[in-house]
């Protein structure tokens, strides 16, 4: 019984306890002071770095299965060759195939940027995971930087030039045009994304990832659904998901900026794309779904990691459904959606949210109850959506009327001509 209790206590906080255990071993082995902690931290870095890779291996498999089921196609289970039960080994088979595939390089490439781009693209998406909290406390997060979410924004924005590097060095017009279109799309959608993040930072009052989670007594998806919507749309574009899948645009640009890559170098871009979609799911979970928060976390901190992974899985599933069912937009439609709808909406949303939230703070001198604050913010959001909806309906009707007038004029002209 005693043993069972101790085992349960160990399991309840398993990750932290394993770390402490390793550190204790190293201290007992007589290592001088900074080294045990440093080694434990290094092991943590390896775990954090490999986490997205492992998730992606299963994500690719799950994505294939779900998309095959939804689109009525053959999935990895029935690919002709046996690939494990339910086709679970398909991703490993693909990886092996890519590694042993010949690397076909076109003439006239710019060799150093060409070979460096696939390395950097994976590097940049792994670096995002440094500040993502996997559970409560300071031990289940890489490092709780006080710039938290700004660090993620900075790294994802600093990585943009890699696409230009890949496209430009390929000596292929499709790749170069694809790279420029990709960057035009990504820089555009970064604006509503950062405005949505600013809204969250203002309401939470901190940029620390753990602080943002701590501020969500009512999850921000409920309190600020419009902000969540703006952020989600922008991240869909950032990770090149289907309605905004113009980076690849198979029918127009053959494959976009990485058309000239083959073998494992192509695989690196593919991997980075999936890694980024896992990363943004984790960021969305942290910013809007309360991260690791859930029932009984204070009893067993390991549950926090479970909640976090479950919420992240839900966000990924949502991404898959959108990706699998929707067709692609045209590039002008996509840019219009960003510049003429999402960005102005994000600015107005930020202004209204900060003013209303300040008003609530002023109205309740003793501090507003969490649910009251969330309710008022939610009501403001609903009102804002209704106003925007009304305006867009008006605009649509006006465009329709203009179109009809134009058509009537054309017909009249034709009749006169006849």
């Amino acid at each position: 019984m005693e043993f069972l209790n101790r085992l349960l206590a160990f399991l309840a906080n398993a990750i932290v306890n394993i770390g402490d255990w390793i550190q204790g071993l190293l201290v007992n082995a007589g290592l001088p002071d900074p080294w045990p902690l440093l080694i434990v931290r290094a092991i943590g870095a390896i775990v954090v770095g490999f986490f997205p890779l492992i998730v992606v291996i299963f994500l690719i498999w799950a994505y294939r299965k779900i998309s095959a089921r939804m689109q009525g196609r053959l999935g990895p289970n029935s690919s002709g060759t046996w690939a494990g039960p339910w086709g679970i080994l398909q991703t490993f088979a693909d990886a092996i195939k890519m590694i042993v595939k010949e690397d076909i390089r076109p003439q006239g490439i710019d060799p150093v940027p060409y070979n460096l781009a696939p390395v950097l693209v994976v590097f940049a998406s792994v670096m995002l995971w440094a500040v993502i909290p996997f559970g409560p406390g300071g031990a289940l997060i890489g490092t709780d930087l006080n710039i938290g979410i700004f660090y993620i924004l900075a790294f994802s924005s600093a990585a943009l030039f890699i696409f230009l590097m890949a496209g430009w060095s390929s000596n292929n017009k499709y790749a170069t045009v694809g790279a420029f279109r990709a960057v035009a799309q990504l820089v555009g959608y970064e604006i509503p994304q950062l405005l949505a993040i600013l809204t969250v930072v203002a309401v939470a009052g901190t940029m620390k990832m753990q602080g943002i989670i701590a501020a969500q007594n009512v999850i921000f998806l409920v309190a600020m659904p419009l902000t969540a919507f703006i952020f989600y749309m922008a991240t869909l574009a950032e990770i090149n998901a289907r309605p905004f899948e113009l980076l690849e645009a198979e029918s127009e640009l053959v494959c976009g900026y990485f058309v000239e890559y083959s073998g494992m170098k192509f695989g690196m871009f593919y991997l980075a794309e999936f890694m980024n979609s896992v990363a943004v799911a984790a960021i969305f979970t942290t910013l809007f779904l309360g991260g690791w928060r859930g029932p009984w976390v204070d009893v067993a901190p390991i549950l926090g990691t479970v909640w976090f992974l479950m919420k992240m899985g839900l966000v990924i599933l949502m991404w898959m459904f959108i990706q699998i069912t929707l067709p692609r937009l045209r590039i002008d439609q996509m840019l219009n959606f960003n510049w003429k709808f999402l960005t102005p909406l994000a600015i107005i949303n930020l202004c209204v949210t900060v003013l209303v939230n300040k008003g609530i703070t002023e109205a309740f001198p003793g501090g507003a109850p969490a649910w009251t604050r969330a309710g008022i913010l939610l009501a403001t959001n609903v009102l804002l959506v209704l106003i925007v909806w009304g305006f867009s309906a008006l605009g649509q009707r006006r465009t329709q009327r203009r179109m009809m007038a134009w058509e009537a004029a054309q017909t009249a002209e034709l009749e006169v001509g006849a």
């Binding site: 940027p113 700004f150 900075a154 924005s157 030039f161 820089v187």
Partner: protein, 165 residues
């Protein structure tokens, strides 16, 4: 020598070497990529200065926005990738003179204020203080708003440039 000093020298060397490469590389696109490395090394130096906000801002603005802008500007040039331009034009002596004067001024200033480094610890919540100073009417409230006007003017200028075709 402490680890911080070693890292500072390392980052400094990276920045200097990359900056030299920016100037002497013939291919404009390669020069832009070297410039990215300069920006990245600067971000590392900001980390050592215990200025995380400026680290992120450096990556965000310089690598994310200005770097992209420079690469786009390179792509607007016609035929620059084909014929390598001569490294110097007929005004090189003027530039060399100005650079020498600037170097002299810097060396003079550095030699005069050798003990410029303060022993004060960096305050814990620097970003907090920055935010309060930005909107404080006795602080930087006016420059803060003027910055917004400046950004608006930059945007109007950009629109004008693109539309003049």
């Amino acid at each position: 020598m402490t680890l911080v000093q070693v890292l500072f020298i390392l980052f400094g060397l990276i920045v200097l070497a990359a900056a030299v490469a920016v100037v002497i590389v013939r291919n404009l696109f390669h020069a832009a990529l070297w410039l990215m490395l300069v920006f990245f090394g600067m971000a590392g130096i900001y980390v050592l200065l215990e200025a995380p906000f400026f680290t992120a801002a450096q990556l965000f603005i310089y690598m994310g926005a200005i770097g992209i802008l420079i690469i786009f500007a390179v792509m607007l040039t016609r035929g620059m990738m084909r014929q390598p331009m001569p490294r110097a034009n007929e005004q090189w002596w003027l530039a060399a003179l100005l650079a020498a004067v600037l170097l002299g001024v810097f060396v003079y200033l550095i030699l005069r204020n050798v003990t410029v480094a303060t022993a004060q610890a960096v305050p814990e919540n620097t970003i907090h203080l920055l935010g309060l100073a930005l909107v404080n009417p006795e602080g930087f409230a006016l420059p803060f708003e003027v910055a917004s006007v400046l950004l608006v003017m930059a945007l109007i200028g950009a629109v004008t440039i693109v539309r003049e075709r």
